[in-house]
Amino acid sequence: MKVNLWGVRGSIPTTGSETKVYGGQTSCMVVSEEDSLIVLDGGSGIQTFNDAHIPKNKRVDILLTHLHMDHIQGLGFFKPFFREDVEIHLWGPSSNTDSLSSRLSRYFSPPLFPVRLLELPCKLVMHEIGNTDFNIGNFKIQSSYIIHPGPTLGYRIEGKQSVFTYLPDHEPALGRNGMIKDHNWISGYNIAHHADLLYHDGQYTATNYATHKGWGHSSIEDTLAFAAACEIKHLLIGHHDPSRTDAQLDELTRELREDVDKYNFEFNFAIEGSELEL
């Protein structure tokens, strides 16, 4: 299984000289194995997708965690949407109040975007999911609602030999007493336990988090604690705060390295453009 990181910035694209190492594109990744390919989220990083990425069967699956702007803003610039010969399957969280199609149409319609969802030339198939098990090509996938404002899913993707868990926006420590020790009470544990690679929200430092509780994101410290509870092998900390510069992320890396012995898994900050082989 290969995981390509195309967007690891949170909230808003922040490309510039101070973010050129870790990257400024918002949430998007591609997971592939043999002929199977999945796109995770449609942030601005999805612009990297070109014709060469389209699988032989001309089917592309996009799994959306939720519909906050930084996870869908690149969809309008996703080239396969404008090809009649491509079948695109959009998977996203169901809601009791409105269909996935109707919620996405708020973006895919004037005045925000000139082309309406219904007008896209591709063959578009919508899948509304919740706590759901399903398969795409080689992959066995488990989606699960997690703590984040509005209907939000995390994904566990199981390939032939490895497991990747994707939780870009997640606040498992929300509450007076932070993260609860009993695994049964930890949001996201059911899809992250024993993953070979976990990509997890670490937007804030502990200091930042104190003034952003309930915004749906985690402190780096809570992310490390979550990864430890889930007994994963490798943690990628992402959804970098838009104000966080490369220099600050390097400094945070140095600080975290001082505590490296506390954790029995590898961890580092996610870098846009990198590829991991599991």
Binding site: P93, S94, S95, N96, G130, N131, S144, Y145, I146, I147, P151, L174, G175, R176, N177, I180, H183, N184, W185, I186, S187, Y189, N190, H193
Partner: protein, 130 residues
């Protein structure tokens, strides 16, 4: 993997922040969490007991009406919520740990999640106005 649904986890996180007794059950009525104010009512700590089967925790209180007649379980708010997934409210008396009769109001509501699935129930105990 028997993790609780996110809607149940969020109810616990809320209960953890409240200063009124809150009890959370699964769909069968087994007590899966109670907060610190509820610990005072039960006389036990959640950290020590963990979850409790319905047969055990339902006998701790002795619900009574004004004339000290025992109220049958089927008339209690939480039992009714578990039965039909609707919210209920009732004022009645219980025997405290010290053996005193205390007037309380109980509000119960079902946890019905995003997938319209019944996931459990919550009972909030209020000290009733005299």
């Amino acid at each position: 993997m028997s993790a609780h649904a996110i809607e149940v986890i969020l109810n616990r996180q809320l209960a953890d922040c409240l200063s009124i007794p809150v009890f959370i059950t699964d769909t069968k009525g087994n007590l899966i969490f109670y907060n610190e104010p509820a610990e005072e009512l039960l006389g036990t700590r959640f950290e020590e007991t963990g979850s409790m089967p319905v047969e055990k925790w339902s006998t701790i209180f002795t619900p009574m009406d004004e004339s000290s007649n025992v109220i049958p379980p089927a008339e209690l708010p939480l039992v009714k919520t578990l039965e039909d997934c609707y919210p209920y409210h009732k004022t009645f008396w219980i025997l405290s740990l010290k053996g005193n009769k205390e007037k309380i109001s109980v509000t119960s509501y079902p946890i019905i999640g995003r997938e319209n699935k019944f996931l459990g129930a919550v009972a909030i105990f209020w000290k009733a106005k005299d």
